[in-house]
């Protein structure tokens, strides 16, 4: 099993969610995040004082999936989240040892 984590632009959430549903994935965890990469923040002006804001708001998506699906899912997320402009985010995956569905106690792929 794999845990896919994606950091995306907040307004692309609907597109990514639709892409995951089209793929047959029905579970998703979303959290608000902030960070910076090559986009390196933006400037804001308050009463004439210009501030460089380094951390940009992002969403972090987490999905657990089968090993077989991981490459296709990563591609689906990346293409759905892509605008082609700087700051589109990252997608990565790591191996997962155990997954338990809390309600039933099912383990492994049955719990995905």
């Amino acid at each position: 099993m794999r845990l896919i984590t994606a950091v995306i632009k907040p307004f692309k959430l609907d597109d990514v969610k639709a892409a995951l549903e089209a793929f047959g994935v029905h579970g998703l965890t979303v959290s608000e995040a902030s960070g910076y990469g090559r986009q390196a923040g933006h400037t804001e002006v308050y009463r004439g004082a210009e501030y460089q804001v380094d951390l940009v708001p992002k969403l972090r998506l987490e999905v657990v999936c089968d090993d077989d699906d991981v490459d296709d899912l990563i591609d689906a997320i990346a293409s759905a989240a892509r605008t082609g402009k700087i700051g589109d985010g990252k997608v990565w995956s790591v191996p997962v040892e155990t997954v338990v569905r809390v309600r039933t106690g099912e383990r492994g792929t049955a719990a995905i």
Binding site: E44, Y46, R47, G48, A49, V53
Partner: protein, 445 residues
């Protein structure tokens, strides 16, 4: 009336009603100012910013009843200050009359002015003042600075009103230049916030700032038109002038921003409104609506440029008390000398209406004296408080934020999941909903 005693013949019912309503309108400006300021600071000290205004309403009210009213409006001593004869409102009852209204209505109205002027100062020392020291400073400041200056200008026997004949209907000197110069002194004595000029000190909630500015604008009708102390033509011209100058201030500030910063900002719009309203405060009973347009516009433009000086000169007037109130008040007070028209004042004329430089000189002198007195005395008082009590919190406290350390509160719990976690201190650790955590509660000592 309720006691069945006859009301004095000199009391005018319409005037009394308008001044009482105006007093309530000005009272609303204080929570308005609290929100205006509170939204502009970072979240970690937002409540402290609100509290500095809210406590002024309480503290200044107590001082006002005990001796403040008497120092400001008691029997005159040399045009400089009132005597203590009226301390505790001694001898002032329902029949005592000031002008055409009961003295108690006048006293209630003027009380709100003292409270909001003290609250205005807090903007210059955001995020770093000891709360107890602030309260001590407020008591000392209203006593030594506000009450005398109010006497000079608002009491008919005060030297600025009676001898200098400078015009100031609603407090361009008493409230605006006074708070601006005093705030500047406070900012200098306390020194800049940690990270000033380096860290982004962004407003944590511009919507709160807009709400606060809206309440200020609304209350300003009472502040300015109520200062006529009567309901009639003077109140009406002050009312329309207030609206016109606030509007022009918005446009003036936004014009500067569009040109300088390439963005017309929300914070700039409401800051411009306040600057325009500040500008018209002294002049609302001296100019016509076209004059108010000019004053509001120029106050908005001047303040929009003035707020940048603190970064160049290195003093941290955090929320621009000097930049907005000091500069706006100066613009309005001095421009009376140019734009005052006899059609409104009844006698005095500005430069533009054939009055020559006479009124301009009087206005400038009043502005200079009040500014210098306020700056000097506030600097001394702040230094005194700093020496005996310490005026500034420790470095660690400032970095952590004042809300939790001073007030034991935090402004927001927007992420709802933190609300139900924890337990009330002094009560047993709550029995959890599930069996498993009940046992874990037993394990805790």
């Amino acid at each position: 009336m309720l006691t069945g005693m006859p009301t004095s013949a000199a009391v005018n019912a319409g005037d009394t009603a308008w001044v009482l309503i105006s007093a309530a309108l000005v009272m609303l400006m204080i929570p308005g100012l609290a929100l205006f300021y509170g939204g502009m600071v970072r979240v970690k000290s937002a409540l402290n910013m609100l509290m500095m205004s809210v406590t002024c309403l309480a503290v200044v009210t107590v001082v006002w009843v005990l001796y403040g009213y008497s120092l400001a409006f008691g029997p005159d001593a040399g045009g400089v200050i009132g005597t203590l004869r009226d301390a505790g409102f001694a001898g002032i009852g329902t029949h005592t009359v000031t002008g055409s209204i009961p003295t108690l209505a006048f006293a209630a109205f003027q009380l709100m002015f003292a409270a909001i002027t003290a609250a205005l100062l807090s903007g210059s020392i955001a995020d770093r003042a000891k709360f107890g020291s602030w309260i001590v400073f407020v008591i000392a400041w209203v006593t030594v600075v506000y009450f005398p200056v109010a006497h000079w200008v608002f009491d008919p026997s005060g030297w600025i009103a009676a001898h200098l004949h400078a015009l100031d209907l609603a407090g361009g000197t008493v409230v605006e230049i006074n708070s601006g110069a005093s705030g500047l002194a406070l900012a200098i004595v306390l020194g800049p916030r940690l990270g000033f000029k380096k860290d982004p000190m962004r407003p944590h909630s511009v919507p709160l700032v807009v709400l606060g500015a809206g309440l200020l604008w609304f209350g300003w009708f009472g502040f300015n038109a109520g200062s006529a102390l009567a309901s009639g033509g003077l109140a009406s011209v002050a009312f329309i002038n207030t609206q016109v100058a606030g509007a022009a201030g918005v446009l003036g500030w936004l014009g500067v921003e569009r040109r300088r910063d390439k963005h017309a900002t929300t914070l700039g719009a409401v800051s411009g409104a306040v600057a325009g309203l500040v500008g018209i405060t002294p002049a609302c009973g001296s100019v016509n609506p076209l004059g108010a347009l000019v004053i509001g516009l120029l106050a908005g433009v001047a303040a929009a440029y003035a707020v940048g000086f603190k970064f160049r000169l290195g003093y941290d007037d955090s929320l621009d008390v000097a930049g907005v109130h000091g500069v706006g008040g100066l613009v309005g007070t001095v421009l009376i000398g140019v734009l005052a028209t006899a059609a409104v004042t009844g006698h005095a004329r500005g430069l533009l209406y054939g009055g020559g430089f006479d009124q301009l000189g009087r206005q400038s002198l009043a502005a200079a004296v009040v500014g210098a007195y306020a700056f000097g005395m506030s600097w001394l008082l702040a230094k005194g408080v700093d020496r005996f009590l310490g005026f500034r919190v420790s470095r660690d406290d400032e970095l952590a934020g004042l809300d939790l350390l001073i007030h034991g509160e935090t402004a927001y719990d927007i992420a709802g999941h933190t609300a139900g976690v924890g337990h009330r201190v002094g009560q047993p650790v709550p029995a959890a909903h599930g069996v498993a955590s009940q046992s874990s509660a037993k394990i805790r000592p």
